[in-house]
């Protein structure tokens, strides 16, 4: 992993040094869930986690409440807790919300983004294009590059709510989606082409168009993911029949 990747990862996941045990275990648990280390839908107990992470239940419970708030855990009072299960329906919901919020981000970015940042974003795309052309781009890099692009747009909206919702809540689950089925942007060069169109619209300060293009970009991405999931499901069904 390059230094640059590390940097962007840090920025996106805002995992600055945790100052408190609760925060620390929150981050560790979050990563464990997203990476699949903890299986989706698996039941977890407070005592088990407390022993595993070597802390008492107090801070752990606070971390759990936060994970609950960003929907990585599902809890039923006095009954138990499970890791969220990402069904196709939930993923569609997430992509729909993303479409609305990132569309709005692109609209705002078209008005507010500085000329300097637009150029920087444009050259970022050049780099991505390069790494794909030369086949240097690993799947991982493509994925991170994609997130980086979307994160910059969100940040340019200058709306802290949008930024937080997208980067701390939705992105975590999105990463989980991708982890789940090893998805990578289906047609990276096409994705970058779409990114370019969006940047062009922003450069022209055409808010309306920027929003439209971003929404199409995301709903298109969902269609591809949906097809992948269906194929996967079909494969599984066949397997069961055999």
């Amino acid at each position: 992993m390059s230094v640059r990747d590390l940097h962007s990862r840090k920025v996106i996941c805002d995992s600055s040094e945790p100052q408190t045990l609760s925060e620390q275990v929150f981050n560790e648990l979050k990563d464990a869930i997203i990476s699949g280390e903890l299986d989706q839908g698996s039941k977890i107990t407070e005592d088990g986690l407390a022993k595993q992470y070597g802390i008492s239940r107090g801070p752990l419970r606070e971390a759990i409440r936060r994970l609950e708030a960003i929907r990585l855990l599902v809890r039923i009072p006095r009954a138990g807790m499970r890791v969220v299960t990402l069904t196709s329906e939930i993923m569609e919901e997430i992509y729909t919300v993303r479409e609305a919020l990132e569309g709005m981000s692109a609209r705002l970015a078209a008005t507010k983004m500085s000329d300097k940042d637009i150029e920087s974003l444009s050259s970022l795309l050049d780099k991505h294009q390069n790494s794909i052309d030369k086949s240097q781009g690993t799947k991982y890099f493509q994925r991170e590059g994609n997130l980086d692009f979307h994160y910059r747009i969100a940040k340019a909206s200058n709306n802290q709510w949008l930024i937080d919702l997208l980067s701390s809540e939705l992105y975590q689950l999105l990463r989980m989606c991708r982890q789940r089925s090893g998805q990578t942007p289906a047609r990276p060069s096409k994705a970058i082409q779409e990114h370019r169109l969006i940047v062009e619209a922003i450069r022209e300060r055409d808010a309306e168009l920027a929003e439209l293009l971003m929404r199409r970009h995301i709903s298109g991405a969902w269609k591809i993911v949906k097809n992948l999931l269906n194929e996967e499901q079909n494969a599984k069904n066949l397997e069961e029949q055999a």
Copy 2:
């Protein structure tokens, strides 16, 4: 009933009996903050609250983490906690996010809402219109009616994420905005007229139009609120000069 249903039930019907102390104090604190009982920006201490509500700090801290997650409290580790301060800038951010999410809700509702629910929604507007014509409508009623309309649209989207975001996170802060300056829909009859147009678009199954109208409705509402805030600010400034 599925796990998901249980979760949404908890979020939506927060009038249901809280089963745990943490939940109970979460609700009480939430109401105290929204109603203005706790001043915006006021500093609060764990020990003080624990004594005030007669519970120990354990459950209280969990409630605090949840309030932090929905942005009613702002915390700085090892330094203290304050009630959020709703500046004009933050309110604009909230309205912007609302515009994106409720616009998407209206779009989805146009496709998914049942004929029966559309009729029900339409007759709800009749009732509101009636109560305004006869001047029976208190400000409170108008406000609740307004919320009811928006909530029904959100629910009709059938997207649990949209529903939760709008009704549990944004909605709380919106109530706080209104509480703050005793705002009431500036022109109730005009608001209802706009609501009618939205319902008509949904009835025609015109998703595009439904979204457009909802977004205009909300951005229009923000402009009115913004003007009210400015006038208020000017009045204060004059007062200080005198």
